[in-house]
Each structure stands twice: as C-alpha cells, then as structure tokens.
Symmetry: C2
Subunit: 354 residues, 2 copies
Amino acid sequence: MRIAQIAPLYEAVPPRLYGGTERIVANLTDALVDLGHDVVLFASADAQTRATLVAVRDQAIRLDPHPLKSDLAAHLSMMHEVRRRAHEFDVIHFHADLIHFPFFEDIARRTVTTLHGRLDMKDLPEAYRRWEQYPLVSISDHQRRPLPLNNWISTIHHGLPPELYRVAAQPEGDYLAFLGRISPEKRPDRAIAIAKRAGLKLKIAAKVDATDRAYFAQVIEPLLSDHSVEFVGEIGDAEKPGFLGNAAALLFPIDWPEPFGLVMIEAMACGTPVVAWRCGAVPEVVDEGVTGFVVSSEEEAAAAVVRAAALNRDVIRRVFERRFAASVMAERYLDVYRRLSDAWELDTPIAAVA
Amino acid sequence: MRIAQIAPLYEAVPPRLYGGTERIVANLTDALVDLGHDVVLFASADAQTRATLVAVRDQAIRLDPHPLKSDLAAHLSMMHEVRRRAHEFDVIHFHADLIHFPFFEDIARRTVTTLHGRLDMKDLPEAYRRWEQYPLVSISDHQRRPLPLNNWISTIHHGLPPELYRVAAQPEGDYLAFLGRISPEKRPDRAIAIAKRAGLKLKIAAKVDATDRAYFAQVIEPLLSDHSVEFVGEIGDAEKPGFLGNAAALLFPIDWPEPFGLVMIEAMACGTPVVAWRCGAVPEVVDEGVTGFVVSSEEEAAAAVVRAAALNRDVIRRVFERRFAASVMAERYLDVYRRLSDAWELDTPIAAVA
C-alpha cells in the first residue's frame, strides 16, 4: 500500500530524548517499511526513518532555539502540503490530534487518526462532534471513554522494536525502578513510599521539566536525602535496558488517566515485571500475575513487589513480543488500512468495529 | 451590510482587564452597529456587545478555571460554525491570526483578516505564502514588513470610543505614567531611568504575568525602593482616565517591534502627551511635536518630557478624535468591506491597495 504517516512537529521522529508520540510514529513507519509497504513520512528534517521523508520544517519545534516560532503555522503548512499530495496515497495516517480536520473533510474515509493524548478535556467533545466522519484509533479502550460517539474503528496498543531491549542474563534485582518524568500525576513520591515499605532501594531516572521544577524542589528533593533513594536524572534509549532490566520491578504508581503508559512495555521488553496503579490504560497493558500486578494502595503495591520476584522474566519478554512488538502494531494498523480501503472502494459506509 | 466579526476566544469581548485584540473587536463591532450595519459577533458567551452575539464557548479561555481545555479545538469549532453560516454574510472579518485559513479558501475574497500580533516569527512566511489569497489588514505599516508579498489591502490603526476618556480639567502633571505589563520588552527599567533624569515622579500601573515574575522580582522591585517611583499594580478601564489624564506624559520606552501600542492612543484620548521609543509602529502613531515625541535615547526622552509640558492637551485630544476614534476605524473598515464586495460582485481580482 501507499501510506502517508503524519507526525507532530514537536519532537524529532524518533525523539532525541523524551517524547512518546513521535517515538511510536517512528516505530510504526519503520515496521511498515519492513513489511514491504511504500511509506512517506511527513515530519521535521531531523527524522531518522527507513521511509521516504518529506521534511516540512528544518527541525523539531521543542528544541529549536529560535526565540519566535509558531507551532500552529508549522502544522497548518504541513497539512496544506499533505492535502496537496493526498492523491498519491491509499491511506493517510495522522498522529497530530485534530489540526487536520478542516483539510480532509471530503476524503475523511481515506484517513486514519490515532489519538495519542488524554481526551477528557473541555472543548474536545464539541470539536469531535463536528468532525464525526473521521475514523479514529485509540491507544487504549480507556482513552476513548470521553468521546463515546465518535467513529472509533479500533484500539491499537503501542509497539516497540524488540531488538532494542533484552532480558538481563543475571538481573541484579536489588532495586525498584521509576522511569519517565517528575510530575505530580506520575507520583514519584508514591514510588518512594512503596520502596520504603517493601524494604528495597529505589532508582529514579527522570527528567524535570521547567513547569515541574517547583514540585521537584518542594516535594521530591527532600525525600532524596534518604540513602535508599537514588536520583539518576534523565537517561537515553541506550541506558534503558540496563536500568530497567536489572530492576526487581518497575513502579508505575500514576495518578491520572494515562492513555497508554509506554514505560510499562519498555520494562516488559526487558523482562522486568510491572507494579502499576489501577488508572487509565494500566489494566489493559498489564497481564495480572504474568507481566506484573495492578494495585490500588501502597500496601498492595509493596506486597506485589514481593510477588513480582517470582514472575518468569522470559515469559514477560515473550508476552511483550506477542502483544507489544512494533511489527504487531504495524500488522494491526494494516488491518485497519485494508478495511478502510475496501470500504472506500465499494463506497460503503465504514462500520465502527471494536 | 451583513458583517460577521470573528474574535479570538482567549479573552472576553471586551476583556475584563488586560487584552488588546478583543478590546478592538468590541470597539469595531459596536461602532459598525452604531453606523447602521447588521453585525454578528462570534465570540465567547461573556461578550458584551450591541451586535448579535453567537456564543461559541461558555466563557473566554484565559480565565476559565477548568483545568483541562483546548484552545485549538475551541477555535476550530468556532471556524466550523462560521463556515456553516458563511452564506449569511457579505463579508467575514477574522481577528484570530491564521487558524481560519483552511476553512475559507473558496471564499477568501469575501473575508478580511486583521493581524493583531507581531509577524517576525519563524513558520509564518511559509504559512502565509501557502494562503496568499487571503486579503490582509495590518494595524501599522511597520507590522507587515516581515510578510511583504502577501495580499495587504490596507493598514487600519486601532480606535477607541472617545466617550470613555476625557481631558482632565486641571491636570496634576507632577508625575510620569507607565501603563501596561511588566516585561523586559516593555522596559519599565528604562522608564524609571528617564523619570529620574527628568526629575519627575513615575507611577507604574501594570500587571505582572507569571512568566514575568522573576524579571519583576530581580530587576524592577529593587528599583521601587526609590521614593520617586510608585507601583500601583493593575488598573481597570474606569481608573485609566484619572491615571493617564493627570500625568505630565506617558512614557512608552519599548524595546520590541510593537505592532501598534494601544496605550499611546489611550493617553492621547486623555489629552496626555506621549514620549515613546522609535520602535515598531511608534512613529506612525505619534505626531511629532503635536501629540508627543519619538525618541531614541534616555537623554532625548528626558528632554522630550520637558518639551511635552508645552503641548496643548485639547489639540492632542482632537488629533485622537480625528485619527483614532472607534468610528474612524469603523469607517475605514467599511471602505475595505465595500471594496472587497464590489470586486467580488464584478468577479474581478481584488487589487492590493496601500
């Protein structure tokens, strides 16, 4: 198939450091190429891809040092270019929220829109009602709940390239891991409390955004004086297998409706069990008692850490490969593309299929 | 004429406190109604207008306490609604940057877009090149310089309702005034230095945004200990005539390409002379030696303050009424609407007229 992938322009594809959406676009795009498809990626020029790149901006917006820039103008220009070339593709797959809705109304049925963020926001129901013809894909069943009436055609979980991760031969297993971003809704404070209760060391590998610096200084830093907590800062992809693979478990004690939770499957890719809060997509991602445990209190979490030691790391890795490999994600999207394409050729309405 | 005015949704129309664009939309809309036209205003529900209001959001975004909201979705929904009703209007006048560009491509010649912000930003030239068919109005000649190739059909300066301001019967005249926002590019530090040099007291009426709090604490607050500087905080419309009208002059020592500078004409409306830096639109707004002085150094500014005392406040007010009354602005926009409407009926291209 001739497939266009439309990335957001905020981070490079894949991102140099943090950034979930652009990472998934990179994984999906490469996996589709590997499966023999003709893929064109619209993204900023710093993308690294096996597809044909259409560079619509000289670099990603977030790290662009230019003092005056317009993310709105940049995304509008990109959509204008995609529209101009729309006839070249069998399907056009958008990953940048809803900014493309005004452009493709007449060919909405040849498009797929994956929503990557939380949807429980004011202003969204009205906008999604107005453009209800667009076929949407959610990244978890939980994510789509605030917009139940839209044209959801599938839930497709995120996928990662298995070759980037490995199960540690002899995992150290003497610490718990917290990976991601320091912010109130990620609850690093709760991770610290759980580790204390479980009697294990906690290593925190996380970035601190400007908006979260006050929270870090006031709430988290005072807790770091304890010798059982180690703050290692932000880490890159190359360090993740070591950091995650040697942990007794990943703690994911979040306090918000997480639409997916990429770090959980990064841990699984390293064979590391996950102890995660019953929030958002968590129960869909964790196989209870197999790849980890879903908990609702610090007491349950501490008990789960003990039980996690007994889980089989090779099994966790195999479940990851079966459910969350990038190729699995790509095959599921190809099913969606084919379904849309078939319906389009027959000129029949595209039915909503769960 | 049947005229639609499309306001941004960030502030109420007019704003409860600070906010230039929505204030101008309010003034223009009411003035067009007063001139007998059939005007529909698309805005948030907290608008106060003599036109017919189409409320497209329950309240303006900026002060809406809801923790999760999407300004993009809100503006897209509004534009969708305007598009649905476009046939009801002879002309549709947009004030919300370029978010409407994808919606009205086929009827661009029935639209007017006033740009209210600075245009020297990355990403803008590319987007404005792609939608070059839209007739644009600048709020100063200086503002349009970064986008010289677009379809500029007029420069129309801002206007204010004369009845909201008055010349003080016996102006105190023993202080200089600084009004607006505390931020590095507004240069309140320079205002303090000029006042010192001129041997006059300075009163600062300004809001401090969250992003500018560090600048205020580190740069401005230490300068306030001097008894010759008084910080009076943010003031509302009702207090402005008193604050401005009693000042010896308004200081406007900005350090950025100001696209218009509304506070200058607020001062003129009170008969108060303006001493302003040669930046952005300033030389277009100030009539040298009549309504104030345009300067390039603190020395020139201090000398201008002395000379300003000799300017005739009734003349300043009359120049304001002739150049910057809301009704003058409305008449100029009506000229533009008629020109577009004529060209459209004859199906001739709309020529760019300076």
